[in-house]
């Protein structure tokens, strides 16, 4: 067991480390960290297996610069975004195992599970409207001098405020 992994680290240490790692990732791969792009491809890939033709949709023409090559080479399920997402899960798992804090968690009740599902659907839909999640649109967007990241930030704060009120009203 590793003592320095037992307690949550201060936010500023996590922030500095994430920032440095994002710079390393950008230097090595040519693109900054993003998460939901991988899930988008998976979702579209599943639709394709079901007989739809999502990659002909207007939506993917906008993101051709990002996903064009992956789609062209049929690397829908295994691509650089998938590898990054597996890395996030593997890294978290390693950290929690080293801290001896691994534990399978259950849903507390149906209500919590339904709210989690509803929240997940809203987050997924919102991430597609904004072109990314907290990571791709905000965390990687601000250092890229992207104006849309600042707009994203304002609306994330409004959304968090609304979310806290929903939480206090329905989940406490």
């Amino acid at each position: 067991m590793m003592q320095w992994l037992k307690k949550p680290w201060p936010y500023w240490i996590g922030g500095v480390l994430l920032g440095l790692l994002n710079v390393v990732l950008l230097a090595l791969t040519g693109s900054a960290w993003q998460v939901t792009g991988g899930f988008l491809l998976w979702g579209a890939g599943v639709l394709e297996l079901l007989g739809f033709r999502p990659f002909e949709w207007e939506f993917f023409k906008i993101y051709d610069y990002k996903f064009g090559e992956i789609i062209l080479h049929h690397n829908i399920f295994i691509n650089k975004y998938t590898i990054l997402n597996i890395g996030v899960v593997a890294g978290s798992l390693a950290a929690t195992l080293l801290a001896s804090q691994f534990r399978l968690k259950k849903a507390k009740n149906i209500r919590q599970a339904m709210f989690a599902l509803l929240g997940g659907i809203m987050m997924g839909y919102g991430a597609r409207l904004t072109g990314g999640c907290n990571i791709g649109s905000f965390f990687s967007g601000i250092p890229s001098f992207s104006l849309h990241a600042w707009v994203f930030w304002i609306f994330v704060i409004l959304g968090a405020w609304a979310g806290v009120n929903v939480l206090k009203r329905f989940l406490v």
Binding site: A99, Q101, V172
Partner: protein, 74 residues
């Protein structure tokens, strides 16, 4: 002196803290509230809140990935 348990297993931040603050309001001076949680951040935020508000507090890891936070009402 009363010792009251508050089951917050499987509940993410900040729900256990909000529940604990509510529960403490119904306790008398000297009573102890024991918050049960399975998230490392829950212990951290409750200890931080208790220290800021001068509540004696103790965090114990009772099992793998499971904690009890003892808060005494001053």
């Amino acid at each position: 002196m009363e010792v009251r348990d508050l089951d917050c297993l499987y509940e993410p931040c900040p729900i256990p803290l909000i529940k604990a603050i509510k529960e403490l309001k119904t306790l008398n001076s000297g009573d102890i509230l024991v918050v049960h949680s399975d998230q490392s951040c829950v212990g951290a935020v409750i200890v931080e809140w208790a220290e800021q508000n001068n509540y004696p507090v103790k965090l114990v890891e009772t099992n793998v990935g499971e904690w009890e936070v003892y808060i005494q009402k001053p």
